[in-house]
Amino acid sequence: MLLLLNFLAFLAVTGYAVYLFVQLVYSRYLFVKLGKKVDFEPNLKERINAVLVNVFGQRKLFKDKKSGLMHLVLFYGFFIIQVGLVEIIIKGFIRGYEFPFGGAYKYFSLLQEWTVFLMLCAMVYAFYRRYIEKLKRLQLKRDAKAAFVIIALITLTIAILLTLGFEKVMLGQNPDFSHAPFSGVITAAFSGIGKAAGTALFYLFWWLHLLTVLSFMVFVPQSKQAHELFAMFNIFFKKVGPVGKLRKIDFEDDGVEEFGVGKIENFTRQQLIDLYACAECGRCTNMCPASVTGKTLSPMHLIVKMRDHLTETGASITSRSPWMPSFVSGTSALAPSLTAGLAAQETASTVEMPNLIGDVITEEELWACTTCRNCEDQCPVANEHVDKIIDLRRYLVMTEGSMPNEATRYFQNIERQSNPWGINRKERIKWREERDDINVPTVNEVKEFEYLFWVGSMGSFDKRSQKIVQSFAKIMNTAGISFAILGNEERNSGDTARRMGNEFLFQQLCHDNIANFQAYGVRKIVTIDPHAYNTFKHEYPEFGLEAEVYHHTELIWKWIQEGRIKPVKEVNEAIAYHDSCYLGRYNNIYDIPRQILKSVPGVKILEMERNKENAMCCGAGGGRMWIEETQGKRINVERVEQALDLSPTMIGSNCPYCLTMLTDGTKAKEAEDQVRTRDIAEIVESSLAG
């Protein structure tokens, strides 16, 4: 009789929980489906590989080794104890039930016991990291939900051990320390209380364990733990192709009145999965140069705020309640904000939805991003922050025409004179006159050339960057390379315009440039500008460019290896080397510049704490070079301080924008007399035999 009652209660509770779970997950599925459909490029191999590496290999998580190990235990533990859970549930109805594994059962039992124990340890450690060690990134978002996760999992693991321990007491069996080392301790300790008491305690903990499991299940979709459900899909459905490549807008389509994203539903579905996949781990914000220097932008909050906004908006559009059961969400313990609580109860039209740009995400946050991709590189669930930020900027710039004044100035200068300062475009070629020991022909002055040397606006007009292109031209002359420049026909690459959200201007420039390349039969392009390099290499092909694209460091290294140039003069400098974002995180080129530096006699390379894929941005990307930085600390000053910690005699870089930022930073620290700033090309040139 009691057993029957127990079974009915189990059915009712479990049935309700499963019902809630399905409803909650289905709601979120519908919310994601509000997004725009995009063509799915199959690329199954690449996708499955990504899932294997990042989900099952947990690769990104190991950027923080301690947290990575903890998460690995929880992740695999979770799968293993699922099996045990089923067995424990059956034990509630069939006394002493064991999976029919025969002789292998004792190993199964041992595995379960250890897994549970390790998970318990992992949770205790998680508690320690969050509340006692107070790891910075975990303090970024503090709410009751994180505590709930920890308490629930600790309760669950303890309940499992207690259930198993009292089962033996109930059955009057002796503890089996060799195969149940942890629950065995409990059996041993309580063996004297008798079978009846043992039975009562068994059921007590059996129910505790069951209710914890079910509450956790209902809780998951409504919290950051939703990443357990969404992360895998997110990684699988992720945009394939070069990282950070932006989506093309089709301007031919006449019907479109809105460019970029002004409403959450105008993101693509694939972008919306990102939002639910976020684990609120704070890794992104922890590395974000904007967050670190006190700007309002925080990539984690960006994602989380948009996620909650999607849930609210989705609830309102689909009239589905995103928070369940209502007796809990009514007290708004689950709902993240007031409007969400309301939205759950009232019907769609009665609640005024906040604006995505302005209320949910401010313009200030959007313009603070340097597009450095440090956040994306960190993210364990492969979220993409940058394409969302740029979609929002696109809306501001193209649909609203609303942007900082400096951005307006920038766009107009590019439109009119094809350079950021608005300097007369006929002065573009002048840089080559400043040094008479270099030979730099234009495409019209030679019959044939192997490389088109894309000088870029910085190299052409900025007195400091001119020195870089002059050095590189000298290196090419020395190596006997046939190359030519476009001279005054060169225009701006459009990269910055694109990253500032002006896709229209970008595409105009892109088409003009490609037409120009084709007219001169360009097959290989080399540039000193990692931004132009990245957009030519990864983004222009979509618009018809067919050419090999090189960054100057790639070719310098090739020519050194081929013996075309030989760095022989000693350059006695201790160089703190700064990786630019667009060569590094966007293109994975970390070793070549270091190899080059190593080949220069006398050079000692100093590695900054944040280097290679963790290198902090100089602060210039994403259009920040052209917009005043007034909030918080200057990013370039922060980066230069990191370099100065190594007491270098020189800071080396591979990008003209970085160089400006680093130079300004050394001036701000009044270190410009002791620490010089140089591009790799300049360092190599100074080492070539006279």
Partner: protein, 254 residues
Amino acid sequence: MNILVLVKQTFDTEEKIVIQNGQISEENVEFILNPYDEYAVEEAVKIKEDSGAGITVLTVGPNRSESVLRTALAMGADKGVIVELEEQADEYAIAKIIKAAIKGQEYDLVLGGNMAVDSGSGQVSIRVAEELGIPQVATITKLSLEGSKAIVERDIEGDVEVIEVNLPFLATAQQGLNEPRYPSLPGIMKAKKKPLERFTLEDLELSEDDLATRTTVQDQYLPPKKQAGKVLEGEIGQQVHDLVNLLRSEAKVV
């Protein structure tokens, strides 16, 4: 409320000037909306956004000038008018032409630029005010409308003059009046569909005297080529003395 904005197409301020046969060459030149007129358009659009207004933009000039009307329409103006003019016309004649082109229309406010950055005479708008018989307030840096009157701040050699004036009147825009907007894409696309009226001189009621220019440009020429920067030499006191002399006699800026 009806607003008329007078606009002119000019060279981008960064353009190099090339003279061929006494004429300024227009080959390969980037044309823009005269920056001061851009302030005027922006001010009109702001008024429209605040309190509603119909904005007409008008230009007199060769066919290529149409682009500046499109820019103004993309910024938010409602209607464009171009008077096609290829022949000689001085400021006097242009003002007469503008008057003829808007004949029969009533405007509560006329806005123009303080000057065109090319010929830079700073006459046309003020002449138009006289032709229309309305008061003018030149070089304004702030405009607030209060019913049928306006409080206007104008820049007079660095000082600020605060003026009260009744509508209708004409104002010319000075730098600092506002920050002109960047036209949005939907704005640009809508601009393509906005009405644009075209006149030739034959369409307008103009007397022979109206078109008889009062002045003629006899010659245009470039200044003697600026020498590369002079780094002065000698003892510091002497250098300072020389510099002051050069600034007064050669550069004539002090």
